[in-house]
Amino acid sequence: MRQGFLEICRRHGLVALLLFLLLGTTGVSLAAEQAEELLIGIEPEHNIFDQMERYRHLADYLSDHLGITVRLTIMSRYGEGIMRFKARKLDGAFLTPYTASMGIRELNLDPVVHPVGLNNDLTSKGYIFVRRDSGIRTAADMRGKSIVFVDPATMEGYLFPLSYLQQNGIHDINNDFSRHYFSGSHASAIFAVLDGRADIGAAKSTVFKRLADQDSSIRQELHIISSSPAVPEITLCVRNELDPQLRNRLARALLEMDKNLRGQEALAHFMALRFVKAMASEFVKVEAMLEEARPALLEAGGQE
């Protein structure tokens, strides 16, 4: 490239040099245009309208702070961000533990930050729970019953319960349960067990706690049989090819937003205290769980 440039200079002198500079300027301008918008994906929660409202304030803050438009898009279901990260031209996504882990491993996504919740909680656990009056206390009692998972792409709502079942001698969810299904959200899985629409459920601890704080009957009626190790609940991961300068500006904007009034307001709407730096090593526990659950995942086959 450099040799070519010198050759052109030798042959065409100043005209060529001017043309090169012009092209170079246009190139810079094109690059700037490409970075005028950031498209960030969000995995759906129980009430996507509330969720969109929470994230909207964050996107507005970042747009103003970075001087570029930050757009949000709700992915149709958990895990879609990973399958369609490239196809949807996402620059980043707020991902739950299993999808973040998959994204880091398979798409080389770069974990940037985690939000710290209003209760100063950064992590979530997976819970496996039953109704207290169900008589189910161990994995052995679960055979022949119905179980509700959240989504095949959730750590708390699928990977963890599969890993627990695998460790406790239940290897085939297709045959060892009378019925199994995916509720689509953590709250729905909790309500399904409360109502008696499923005997056993799995969901994440933060949603369980939030619902139980709103309704005391939930703690009275549900019994937690097992809980997973804690892992970061939400992680903003960006594509590896994102302009490093923009990536760093984005990270800085989020890490420092609790230090100014506008940022604090946006954080309050987002229901977080602050953001903290994320590291790929935090997902080792999820990878270990994946290894434990792998035989059951293979057995489940079509559900993956």
Binding site: H46, N47, F49, R131, D133, S134, S146, G184, S185, A187, S188, F191, A192, L194, D195, G196, R197, D199, D215, S216, S217, Q220, E221
Partner: protein, 312 residues
């Protein structure tokens, strides 16, 4: 003579044995059935019971089923049980706790199978001649969903003080509502005249217990509630044309089928006490959008997705 006697004796024996065997093949049994009330829930349960039993027994056994559908009150339930004992039935089947309690009260030696009993663990019905199946609907879920649909301070509870299970449901929902700061108002239905209470009281929402008396006049009750735009939730299922805003219930058919399986075992000689009783815990959550429209209520999308079925 001696020759004829020697020839006839085996023939006579063979004929006797054949007749005995034939009688056994078509032995007739009588099953007595008591419904706590002649309501669709128990009718559907009984239909499934008969279908399953017919399938199980085939032509092996002739079965006569005597069905008693007394008007729901303690004397009628008791009379129904006594009638079946007088008929000398081989087996009694009861639907609902009040009919079961009446049959148990007679202390008969006739095997008893119950079905359609809410929270059978809470009802005292131990005995070597008794088994059966019931269901449990978590009442806390009813309060939770009603709260999500409408902000309310008072909850009317339609129950019947002569139906013990219905009283238990009232007590349970009163405790649950109290935890949420909601006041409950008893609406005791013992006769049709008691429906007038619905004209006097206007609670913000109404919970309908599994009382048979209440369900005998359910359409009138729903019409009265509809006039006052009071939403209702029930623990018994309803047909789509019946505009109950929300039901959280266990379908009657599995209980009917299980009662028939138990009956088949008992008729085959198994002791009722050795057949494990069962409580069905699976429920169906049904939202009625037509009822919601009439009441001016919009189902939030996050609630609709919880429903097993939405009646549109």
């Amino acid at each position: 003579m001696h020759f004829f006697a020697r020839l006839l004796l085996p023939i006579l024996l063979a004929v006797c044995m054949a007749l005995t065997a034939a009688a056994d093949l078509c032995a007739e049994v009588r099953i007595g059935v008591i419904m706590t009330g002649d309501i669709p829930y128990y009718q559907a349960m009984h239909k499934s019971f008969v279908e399953e039993l017919t399938q199980q027994l085939g032509s092996r056994q002739k079965v006569e089923i005597i069905v008693q559908k007394p008007f729901p009150n303690p004397i009628s339930w008791s009379n129904a049980a006594r009638k079946l004992i007088a008929f000398d039935v081989n087996l009694m089947v009861t639907y609902g706790w009040p009919a079961t309690a009446a049959a148990l009260h007679e202390k008969s030696t006739i095997p008893l199978i119950y079905a359609g009993v809410h929270e059978p663990d809470h009802a005292a019905m131990a005995g070597k001649n008794v088994t059966g199946c019931g269901y449990k609907v978590p009442l806390s879920s009813i309060v939770r969903y009603l709260k999500n649909l409408k902000s309310f301070q008072t909850l009317g509870v339609l129950y019947s003080s002569i139906e013990e299970d219905s009283v238990r449901q009232y007590e349970a929902i009163r405790g649950l509502a109290g935890q949420q700061g909601i006041l409950t108002r008893k609406i005791d239905i013992r006769s049709r005249n008691d429906l007038a209470q619905l004209k006097e009281h206007s609670p913000d929402a109404v919970f309908i217990t599994g009382s048979s008396l209440t369900h005998l006049w359910i359409e009138e009750i729903l019409a009265l509630l509809g006039q006052k735009k009071i939403p209702a939730a029930d623990i018994l299922p309803h047909p789509p044309e019946s505009e109950v805003l929300m039901t959280l219930s266990h379908p009657p058919q599995p209980q009917g089928r299980m009662a028939a399986e138990m009956a088949g075992q008992i008729l085959a000689g198994v002791s009722p006490g050795s057949i494990a009783a069962h409580t069905f815990r699976e429920t169906e959550l049904v939202f009625h959008q037509g009822a919601a429209r009439s009441l001016g209520i919009n189902f939030p999308i996050h609630l609709l997705i919880e429903a097993t079925r939405v009646v549109r």
